[in-house]
Symmetry: C2
Subunit: 369 residues, 2 copies
């Protein structure tokens, strides 16, 4: 078992990582509140697998343990689904001391966290991520929210969890495609922040795909350490936290263009990283050799390295409404070798168009290389 | 012109109070952002009166000034209406630097503030209150949110404005009933925090009803000073801020029982204060003479001092889901003479029932006195 601390003053919290944590009441002792209600929020896929185990682990710590099961999928990350959580909380007369537990992947974590941020102007919540993507990325850092038809995560809040319990055993029930998608964010952490970890991934990507317990725990811990350090320095993304968005500017546009849920988030980020790396090469901050290593690693992880063939104007339109855009100007995250990243210059629409026309063709050429 | 500072560290802000402020660009210079968008959010009643004037005052300070006009009324303080603000922001490609301006009463302020809290995980907003209730109470302190069918303000956030501009000239267009409702919160501030101000109100309630400019500015400033001091000590209502809820526990129940919008918030708070004062007498913390003075002042302000005749069980049910309840136990705010208040003991359901049966009858007896 490993533990990583996210240092945020009075809102600091621990991420605990290991096999079997979900089934141990001790894992949740830090948030025990014997007179309060616990509400487990999960989805129709995950709840049948783990909700009862979590329920049993929480029971010693709370007055009662309630359950709210949502439909599964990115397309349900909307107000209607969020309202199901509020309805449950209000029907059950849950008060301000209630604690919500997000049991599932990124969609459940984001939705549950946002429900906790808004219910009675804010109650506590705990992340219990059951996907690799959620364990290495979305469960840490307090970004919560839902989608709007016009853009991903447009409605949300910064609301830090009280605790993150990442039970690596739950990854055994994860479809291979989702495991691969999670590896995109793992590779991203190495690429932007730690060349040693990137090298380690080059030596262990097959072990991760086979869910070797030690390899998985190491990868999850290292990603959480990297993310925790970034979040501690810049909680609300006024600066360096934006580097975590490497591959996401274009990735979000792919997700939106293809329809939410058609491409998995990690798949879109993988293709987005390929474009961003190509831009980094074009702008002279990345060499061809590290670019090729990134591409090779993504391919070995079974991830897409080509972007869907859509008009550049469509991508530009989608990126213009991205949260990271300012007055329509998009700022890409660029690599400076493997293990270091920087925020590129704000590119106006014309520059973005030229870069994109270049970048969007490149992956196809590379993929054929 | 008066100015009151709300001290909240990096989130401190000014409340400026006076006649004609809306028509002066200088009033908004503190939030100028020449490359950003301003969005004026108002309703169908207030927009025709003041939106153009505010638009003209903002134009020198922003790249563009947009408008979003919502339906008028507490019954529209819901997700559908909130989403109209998000739709406008997204259709117009408003980025993270955008500033929202809440032009209207408490419903507009709460809805707009919550939209600002959630849009792209938080943008700035400014309160431009046009009702007495909003100027003396709801525009200050950062409580934002919308209603849920099961309870008032159940979904929301603490999100402080960057500036509050209270133009007392706008009160001239306020229906008399709403002016009276606003006086309920004015009287509340005197009753819980300042016996001198309470006495001043006893001497000036008619001047306030006639909108005497000096009297109005004094009352708004004193209320804002009292509220600012309370909020600075306890922003998220973990302690003393709860004293501002004097009259609100029962008041919210009246509003819910009668249907949102049937009783004005201030009217319900007035009747709620009568009940809370009666409870204060019953529990020995308030004498009959100050109780009578409170009742007289409310009556002179044209406010209801009788609660609607409904079964005690209905009120209890409604109070049980109030945000201020914990595990179904309600804590009333009690007066300790005029100008001082304290949080009463947590009363379990049985005690609350007994108190209420007592309190709910008392006002009718008093009203007939």
């Amino acid at each position: 078992m490993s533990s990583v601390r996210v240092e945020l003053g009075s809102r600091s919290y621990d991420i605990v990582i290991g096999g079997g944590l979900l089934r141990r009441p001790q894992s949740f002792a830090a948030v025990a509140s014997p007179r309060a209600s616990a509400l487990v929020v999960s989805n129709t896929t995950v709840a049948p697998l783990y909700a009862q185990a979590l329920h049993d682990s929480l029971l010693p710590h709370f007055a009662r343990v309630l359950r709210c099961v949502l439909p599964d999928g990115e397309q349900y990350k909307d107000w209607q689904t969020l309202n199901q959580v509020f309805d449950t909380l209000l029907e059950q007369h849950c008060d301000r001391r209630s604690v919500l537990f997000a049991l599932g992947g990124g969609v459940i974590g984001d939705t549950t966290g946002f429900a906790a941020a808004c219910y009675m102007r804010g109650v506590d919540f705990v992340q219990v991520p059951t996907t690799l993507l959620a364990q290495v990325d979305s469960s840490v850092g307090g970004k919560t929210g839902i989608n709007h038809p016009a853009g991903k995560n447009m409605i949300g809040a910064f609301h830090q969890p009280r605790l993150v319990v990442a039970d690596t055993d739950t990854l055994r029930s994860l479809p291979r495609r989702e495991l691969q998608a999670g590896l995109a964010e793992v590779i991203k952490h190495g690429a932007i922040a730690d060349s040693g970890f990137f090298e380690w991934l080059e030596g262990h990507v097959e072990a991760l795909l086979e869910l070797d317990p030690q390899a998985v725990e190491h990868a999850v811990r290292r990603c959480c350490e990297i993310k925790a350090a970034v979040v501690a320095r810049d909680e609300t993304e006024s600066g360096t936290r934006a580097l975590l968005n490497f591959g996401h500017t274009f990735g979000h546009a792919i997700e939106a263009a293809m329809g939410w849920g058609s491409w998995l988030h990690g798949e879109a980020v993988a293709a987005g990283m390929v474009v961003a790396a190509e831009l980094s090469v074009a702008l002279g901050s990345l060499g061809r050799e590290p670019q090729q290593r990134l591409l090779d690693l993504l391919r070995r992880a079974g991830l897409p390295v080509e972007v869907p063939a859509l008009p550049v104007s469509r991508y530009l339109e989608l990126m213009r409404v991205d949260k990271k855009a300012e007055a329509g100007a998009v700022r890409y995250v660029l690599l400076e070798g493997l293990g270091a990243a920087r925020l590129g210059p704000a590119s106006d629409e014309q520059a973005a168009r030229a870069l994109l026309a270049h970048g969007a063709q490149a992956p196809q050429a590379l993929a054929g290389a």
